[in-house]
Symmetry: C3
Subunit: 429 residues, 3 copies
């Protein structure tokens, strides 16, 4: 067990290097002399023009999602650290998987859109990671990264190239897909020993503040996420404007309903950290359509409400009835708002807000995203369930100290942490 994680990681990295050497080229590798310098210069200009949007997406993946998950009091190292590991491996594999599908197995060139899509592909895994956060081992996450991105790339190809559906902000292909994939995995890995909750599954004051770093960077950069691969010009402009206002409206309704559903009207940090972002998810599919700013505000407002209700009523129900435990509530931040986004896309197309897609194509995309996710997630769950991946015992769930060297002093411990205090009990990694 001791060597499984490092050996698998090394093996995967070697595989990536080999695949890159076989398939990946610079945009500047001209094989034909017909390539005009002019065009090349324009390409490079386009690269730099989209680079700030790429950097915003980058921030969302690494800081945004990473810190959002640090709300657990004893699981901050894993949240931000395993997030980094998944994303770094995933962006390499995503580059290959998507590149090869679109080039039909030939060599392909790396442009700014490949880099944006590589980051996008990792988002699906990071969303799913939220459902199983605290209950899995790093080695399980390596496996999930490879499998999930393969399924994602297949579905993305189907949606974009076969159905030719519109999903510019990826409400369906990333958010819905990532959420239901993660829920399927979480369902297979259900631990009935934790059905009454766990002492570690709570936040402390400062861990909630760390999580707000994630929330705010996600919130601010979301307009870039929804517009990064949009058609330059009008559509990119609309994607930014619509997302900006959808998110703003979403914040206001989230605060209103968080207070409304809570006992004594107090605001709940879980809602503020998560539901405020649902407006970015829900407006994703139709972000580059002419839905008008007020239309996006309607979508954002409803998304905030749906998400708060999900956290308050649906998540507990899913845990007890369906035996799916969703640590971060990804169903409420990505699942429900993602489906809502897919439906909003169908409505928008029906209302003539797009001239490139049809209702049927949009519906097929939504169905395919959910279907692929569930099949992929169940498959992955079954593989991860094998008792050979060093998963933590129930009593060591949501605790970094199983996989990390942890400082002697943790702010929420009431005593110095003795790193050797449960050496007999915890599984070797």
């Amino acid at each position: 067990m001791r060597f499984k994680f490092p050996l698998m990681a090394i093996g995967l990295e070697v595989a990536m290097i080999v695949l890159f050497s076989l398939f990946v080229q610079y945009e500047t590798d001209h094989n034909t002399t017909s390539h005009i310098n002019n065009t090349m210069a324009a390409d490079m200009d386009g690269f730099l023009k989209l680079y700030p949007l790429f950097q915003d997406v980058h921030i969302m993946i690494f800081v945004g999602i990473g810190f959002l998950m640090t709300f657990l009091k004893k699981y901050g190292f894993s949240s931000v650290g395993i997030n980094l590991l998944i994303a770094a491996l995933g962006l390499q594999w995503g580059t290959i998987a998507q590149g090869m599908l679109h080039s039909h197995g030939k060599k392909f060139q790396i442009g700014i859109k490949n880099m944006i899509n590589a980051d996008f592909s990792t988002a699906t895994v990071l969303i799913s990671f939220g459902a199983v956060l605290g209950k899995t081992s790093p080695i399980q996450m390596l496996i999930m990264t490879i499998i999930e991105i393969s399924f994602f790339a297949g579905n993305e190809y189907l949606v974009g190239e076969i159905f030719k559906a519109s999903d510019i902000g990826a409400s369906m292909t990333i958010h819905t897909f990532g959420a239901y994939f993660g829920l399927a995995v979480a369902g297979v890995l259900y631990r009935s020993g934790l059905r009454r909750g766990h002492d570690n599954e709570e936040s402390v004051y400062h861990s909630d503040l760390f999580a707000m770093i994630g929330t705010l960077f996600l919130w601010m950069c979301w307009p870039s996420f929804n517009s990064a691969i949009a058609e330059t010009g009008d559509k990119q402009y609309m994607a930014i404007v619509n997302t900006y206002f959808s998110l703003a409206a979403c914040v206001v309704t989230t605060y209103a309903f968080s207070s409304l559903v809570q006992h004594r009207g107090k605001l709940d940090m879980v809602h503020i950290q998560n539901a405020t972002l649902a407006g970015g998810v829900a407006v994703g599919t139709c972000a580059d359509m002419t839905i008008h700013p007020y239309g996006s505000m309607v979508i954002g407002s409803i998304a905030g409400i749906v998400s708060v209700f999900g956290y308050k009523f649906l998540t507990p129900l899913i845990a007890t009835k369906l035996r799916i435990h969703d640590t971060c509530g990804i169903h409420n931040l990505h699942g429900l708002p993602g489906v809502m986004g897919g439906l909003a896309g169908i409505v928008a197309v029906a209302m003539g807000a797009s001239n490139t897609s049809t209702m049927a194509m949009q519906a097929a995309a939504l169905g395919s995203s959910i279907g692929t996710a569930v099949v992929g997630g169940l498959t992955t769950g079954l593989i991860l369930r094998l008792p050979i991946w060093g998963q933590p015992l129930d009593e060591y769930c949501y605790d970094d100290s199983v996989y990390w060297e942890v400082p002697r002093w943790r702010e929420h411990d009431h005593h110095f942490h003795d790193p050797g205090d449960h050496s007999e009990l915890e599984p070797e990694v």
Copy 2:
């Protein structure tokens, strides 16, 4: 009381949606056929070119100001959370208020400058929020957001369109205005029960580090703030360069004088967190004028000194003599440096650094900004003073737990926090 906050928030969001549906259009909604495609493409190009600067402003508003206020040990949720609420509502209302004033009540189009200005308008409320931080309820902040942005938009119209004064970085229209508005509100809401201070009105070690996240992002992005709406070309270039060097100089003098004024020469985190930014405020008005880098460094150096002296000597004086309690010391970060910026603008114009404005126009702008702010602030204060807005009792000031569900464990408590422990005493929200 229980429903006042959510109902007011929902009402406001519905109002925003209605107003947007009536007045806000895309830039791509061409009503005339005379609109040339060429121009449109150029517009979109300009949009993307300014988008990184907009994102920097966005970071300042949401992460910068939000985290800067997390220095209080028990008020981090409200600082970063109510900051988000104010900004999200404010940017919608700011879009409408400014757009309608400039379009004289007609429909108007949303461009990147409208988005920048919308973010700007929220800054005034967030500055004022700093003066009353910890002593007000969320519902009071919703009210202040609507009223203050209305006054701001009026004054900004006066300064820009009637006086035609120069104030590119908004030393006068945002910083001076926001500061004196906030001080006026704080004066009306003065609590004599807290004149001897409050146990909660202090930082802990990590809350000061959270605040430094805010400081650094504000500091780094300030050149974008001062240049975002500047004339493309030379003026925008100068606004960036001047602000960059003003801030650098300001840091050095802030450290020097923080050590100088403190007993035993130690540095004070309050100064470092705030006065280091005064250089950005003070160079705002004349940032796009030919004041030369050394000129901006002189301005920044003096601003740092003025701000440190303000924190050390003026704030306590204002609290005891004028009965105005300024939680974050906004007078020292925005008030004094803002006025200094307005005066620097007059001097710069006198010295021929600008050919578009006159001393009289600049003086009128400064006077109008202070005057409008005081009138608006007093009015707002009187409305907020009505005993129906769920303001916290004196003993629960600076404590998130009145309005937020708070984790059982806060790092600075010496015992588990019992969320029900003062249920009889605290006001229902």
Copy 3:
């Protein structure tokens, strides 16, 4: 002693203002009429195009390096605060030092590349700061800033203008130079009283999370660092792509080897915070060469491994055998990967990946960077060793409270901190 720090800081700022007034001009200050408007407009356009890359570098300097060093439990204020002071002073002095060298003592104009280079020059000091972190006074850091940047500017001129070597991401001129300069200083300032370690020289749980903010922003923005001053077009594109993939590969091998070298296979936060960044350092010199993505992934993979081994085995050895105590392990993050980058550059040139440099020029650049650094560092160390700079006593090393007003409650203290409790013992500052 009480006044030495503020007076030196004020003196330095006054000197900077005088130097700027004598030597620094706007790009818009045309002395000749031959200057065509067209070119000017293009310049300004180039300014805005590189501005987002500059902002990324800015983030690395102020947030990245600043927060990376907050891992020490009682030294967060100094880490992030003195980092800000060094950088703010250093960017002014760097502008002058580099500008005057390249203009041969004449007036020069400030463009975006000067601003990027100014930020770069501060990076060397901040790297060296990591070696002596916790063992020096603010006044010593002011002195080091001025001396180190002078040596840096000299070496950078030698490497770029005389040797005409290629070092686009500054593996040699910044990372190698900064590391060996810092180690030389640390060697001279060695405290044998601390050879058994120090109670304060450890992290707490949340200080490690603060440090991860630094890690992630450094990691994300590194492609901008390595490409910011690259030739527009192909080379800038390759610098971004190569760095992106080098960093990704580096993360995976860092995790693998961190687990591999640790007792019981647990991950070590020190490795994750630092070694994950080694890929950015090591690919620096040849980032804009045609090394292909898989080539950069090989470099990144090796860099991660080298860095982890450095932390695990070399740093303790250097401390005991060479009596050089390196607080942050800069030798492993900047020294070894920097040298590796220099060597990779030689190999890449040998393999024909560049047509502008030769192996000899590259080797000369590497030798000169190490040589200048050691000479400069030893000189600086001897000056800093004079017992007049208020350096902390051994028992107060790694403790902010010597130079800062510290809140009564620090999360890791087990009692309220009494700011007056060691007034007799601690040196006056």
